[in-house]
């Protein structure tokens, strides 16, 4: 409609109210509710965290005394444990992410290429475990890996072991296993979507031109599924770095992550400014890790994959 008005009366534009308003403003009205929520629930608290991280805690009060002490501490000997924890958290999330993507890819592949009828049922079945609370899923793993848990009593029953295996629970591996399962759905769905989108005629063409199945996968399917795989990787990696509930429940004394330290600062240790500074450093570390990951993939390939 606007285009028509433009073509018929090009000189009377100022009189036309809709034409005077830039087009992006229309879009702004549409996204305004979402924008307000994002501003109120994300941006403002984030600014709050950054601001508080420059303040000081004395006793029960937080003093708005601007200084860099909280950050300085992180680079002294006293802060060594936080640096180790950040590195450890990044490493644990990375292992969990790799495990998730490697497990999720065949599942997504199966759904995209092998299921012909009622795909919806398969998708629903896949998400069923995720209808229960996150906490319950972690507890379920505690039951599976526990001292008298499913694995230990199973192995004992079969006669493979006569004493429960203690290394299953309360260590970093238990955290990785639990995270890998808890986030599986977030990886399967994006990979599935990008596999589903692949034009099947490419695959046929590759086969007609003499590619083996393996070669066809690496030359056609995998590159075309990269958008989904990369987004799955980021979707799992970013939130798991800061997780603290999983390490609390299955991590024991050695499996704690930076998230636990941050929670402690806001709770028991009663030092919100240091907690805020730790959060900022953690966000920075995640950003750097993600940038490194994307750089490793390369701009060319990212462009080719249409991201």
């Amino acid at each position: 409609m606007t285009a028509q008005a433009h073509s018929s009366t090009p000189s009377s534009a100022p009189a036309d109210f809709t034409a005077a308003r830039p087009e992006w403003l229309d879009g702004l009205w549409l996204i305004l509710p979402t924008l307000l929520i994002v501003l109120g629930m994300m941006v403002v608290p984030l600014i709050g965290i950054v601001v508080v991280s420059f303040w000081t805690q004395t006793g029960f009060d937080i003093l708005p005394a601007w200084n860099l002490d909280n950050y300085r501490v992180l680079f002294t000997e006293e802060g060594a444990l936080y640096r180790i924890l950040i590195m450890k958290s990044l490493w644990m999330s990375l292992t969990a992410t790799i495990a998730v993507v490697v497990l999720a890819y065949p599942m997504a592949y199966f759904m995209a290429f092998r299921i012909e009828k009622s795909k919806l049922i398969w998708i629903i079945l896949l998400t069923v475990p995720f209808w229960t609370s996150y906490l319950l899923r972690i507890f379920a793993w505690k039951v599976i890996l526990g001292f008298n848990g499913v694995i230990n009593s199973g192995l004992k029953f079969v006669g493979f072991i006569d004493k429960p295996l203690e290394f299953l629970l309360y260590n970093p591996t238990a955290v990785t296993i639990t995270l890998a399962h808890a986030w599986a759905a977030y990886a399967v769905l994006p990979i599935y979507v990008s596999l589903e989108k692949i034009d099947r005629s490419y695959l046929e063409a590759a086969q007609d031109l003499g590619d083996s199945k393996w070669k066809r996968f690496w030359r056609i399917t995998f590159p075309l599924s990269l958008p989904g795989t990369i987004s799955a990787t980021l979707l799992v990696f970013i939130p798991t770095v800061g997780d603290y509930i999983t390490p609390t429940l299955v991590g024991g004394t050695s499996g704690i992550m930076i998230g636990n330290s941050i929670v402690t600062q806001f709770g028991k240790a009663n030092n919100a400014p240091l907690g805020a500074a730790l959060s900022c450093i953690m966000m920075l570390a995640i950003t750097l890790a993600v940038c490194a990951f994307l750089a490793a993939i390369g701009r060319k390939r990212l462009k080719a994959a249409d991201i």
Partner: protein, 368 residues
Amino acid sequence: METQDFLKAMKSGRMSRRDILQMLTAAGLTMTMLPVGRAKAADGEVIYFTWEGYNDPGFHPGYTAKNNAEPEGPVFGDVEEALTKVRSGFKVDIVHPCNLDLKRWRDADVLQAIDTSRLTNFADLFPGLTKLPYAQGDKGEQFFIPVDWGNTSILYRPDLFEAKEESWNMLWDERYTGQIAMSADATEAVPIAGIVAGAKDPFNMTDEELGKAKALLVKQKPLVRFYWDSNSAVEQALASGELVASTGWNSSVVTLTGQGVNIKFANPKEGIMSYCCGLVLTKDAPHVDKAYDLINAMTAPEAGKWLIEAQGYGHSNKKTFDLVDEKTLAERGLPKDPSDFFSKGIVQQPILDTERVQKVFEEVKAGA
């Protein structure tokens, strides 16, 4: 619009954009109004913020009898966590801290004085407990009503743990690597390390003593399966044999013995730790009247009888001890008078600088 009409219109596609918007507005308004109604409905009972596992109806039969309902029961595993929650606006009426935490709760300025004239059992409470340090304000106003007194010691499995002599050192026994648990509560764990380090006052250590205690906790960490903040987690792990020794309280002995588990509560040569826990009233408690009902119910002799028999703790009311026979008391290691009890062990003292103690323990726990 009637529901039937709405569905029909939806089905036949007669719904206009305006109609849908109207419906959505109505639904939205209803949703925003809902919590108001719910909050009103939940207005009823006193909110009792206590340790996990300590809101059993047995603790306060009088409350249930009078109000025909149970107190609301949010729980905590760690007092400092509870204080942080209350300070950041978590609305509760009554909290259940112990004598060593009192200074901190008083300093945080979250409590109001309790009107003792409204308490039916106050005259029968042991004065030694009502006059504990920081239980009363400068003008003698009462901030803390004692309820239960007991011990912190080592729970261990005599069939799995070979103890030459009972000592706090049992928690550092390398033969049982990965089978020992320690309290996640700094105000308990750090003083225990202080006792082992030989500190003069394990609750208020000098920097040097605190450094030694920290070194001991670091040394202990590889032996520890987990730091517990839930009583039931310790009981389950001890019952299954996953743990052979852990710090713990009297009630676990009664619970585990009842389950047929071979369990012992150590009497360490350095001295068993004793404490008294009780009730405090928060400054902006929403249900003050019912809060007094709860205090009265929990200090009543019949509640005390249950506390001794089912939980193994001492009670603050003198009259309780007329209801319990000597044998039960002897089995639970409880004297008739708490002053006898407190004269023997290491009485937990108010920690003057909790933050310093917290920081040390958090560093130990976070250390990679």
